[in-house]
Symmetry: C2
Subunit: 251 residues, 2 copies
């Protein structure tokens, strides 16, 4: 396989990369808008929730939508995602991960806007979106009550949920949705809510504990009308150690 030419596009067509970069025609190709849409999952009382805003301006005025915004020309997109979530919840450095890119030509009526979905998990009790600058017009909605959303946000949500369900099986991301101290039954209820399946209590307990990822606290549940359960917290340090040794989390 000998080298012949270095054209990066079919013959006869002009390449954007094959010309010196200062000759690139900005006007033709550099007219995209880029945005980020956040799928923020929360969990409260055995129910999986999602953070939505209600649109007050065209397009899609009055419809529910995912919180999102255009990315600034000098802003990294990961940073933009963090910014949006910070404005929404008042909290920095939240766990966020890309889901997919949505690049249909006609997905935004205002022009060509490429958007990237990000999903995030937060403990509702800990982070009240009302306390932030975005407070107004922001709601936690039960996942199975979500109506058709603006733009292609219904697709973005659907994909994000699927990715969450996959991740939660293979990475201990679920712990982000719980308070720092939790009972095993809480953890189980969380998994059941996300995956909607149900597990045998004793077996679930054994499986989780056998991974040695939880630290048993010397503290019990309070204010329950029955025997209180032991509280645990997630051992992040230990998890990182195990990962380094080739361990892989599974369900």
């Amino acid at each position: 396989m000998a080298e012949k030419t270095i054209s990066a596009v079919p013959k006869g067509q002009k390449s954007q990369f094959a010309v010196p970069y200062y000759e690139i025609s900005y006007d033709k190709f550099f007219q995209f808008g880029v945005s980020v849409d956040c799928v923020v999952f929360g969990y409260h009382e055995n129910r999986l929730k999602i953070l939505l805003i209600k649109r007050g301006a065209a397009p899609f005025m009055g419809m529910w939508a995912l919180p999102g915004d255009l990315v600034y020309p000098n802003e990294n997109i990961d940073v933009a995602a963090q910014r949006i979530l910070r404005d929404l919840t008042g909290i920095d450095n939240l766990f966020m991960e890309q889901t997919k890119v949505y690049g249909q030509v006609d997905r935004h009526p205002a022009g060509r806007v490429i958007t990237t979905g990000y999903y995030s998990l937060i403990d509702i009790a800990k982070h009240d979106p009302h306390a932030s600058a975005w407070a107004d017009g922001v709601y936690w909605m039960d996942l199975d009550e979500v109506p058709k959303l603006a733009f292609d946000h219904s697709d973005i949500l659907k994909d994000a949920l699927q990715i969450l369900q996959q991740r939660v099986r293979h990475q201990p991301v679920g712990f982000e949705l719980l308070p720092e101290k939790f009972a095993l039954a809480d953890l189980q209820a969380l998994y059941e809510a996300i995956l909607n399946e149900s597990y045998d209590k004793a077996n679930f307990r054994k499986r989780i504990l056998s991974m040695n990822l939880l630290i048993s606290l010397k503290e019990n549940q309070k204010d329950v009308p029955h025997r209180p359960a032991r509280l645990y917290k997630f051992d992040k340090q230990r998890y990182d150690e195990l990962i380094a040794k080739g361990f892989s989390f599974e369900l």
Copy 2:
């Protein structure tokens, strides 16, 4: 949680979405370039390969890079990915899947370019990139001989490989890399190349066959200096049926 306002950005900052869309300031936000970079995996003689081009123009002239191109303003990005791969291999409708978006401000010296990685799997014997318009300057390179690539392409490749390794465990994508008819040992060698692990031959065989996803042909290997193995082909239809019933492929 009562509705109060509908502002989508922090107070005092102007929202892009909260104003009528015809007022959006195109000049400020709509100046991104969008591109697609393809990570095309191939497989030949027990080695995992990747399709690279050699850049012949600035920036990064002379360096190896992933095949990619800017997306046209009126082109869906999935379509752009297919276009690039078609120009490269002469083949339409190849299996392609997004990996991640790369949105660092300074990732492209020519301006703000957001790129999306796509990965793809092809049977090298079947699709010779030399037969296409891109023929020149396109090479299959052994995965462990890949040098540092132009732009952030080394990162894109690294991420794509990781995603491939994950997918191959949970979806029968690996078959895309093999000829239509193959022996079980070939399949095993492919998995071992992708995941770099090794499996017990007899057990691998049992596991794969127990899924009932392979059709045993009445045909054997040819031109091998020992007992020829039975050839199989992948039963796509059966796979779709099983998936519909909730089956999930695993390793």
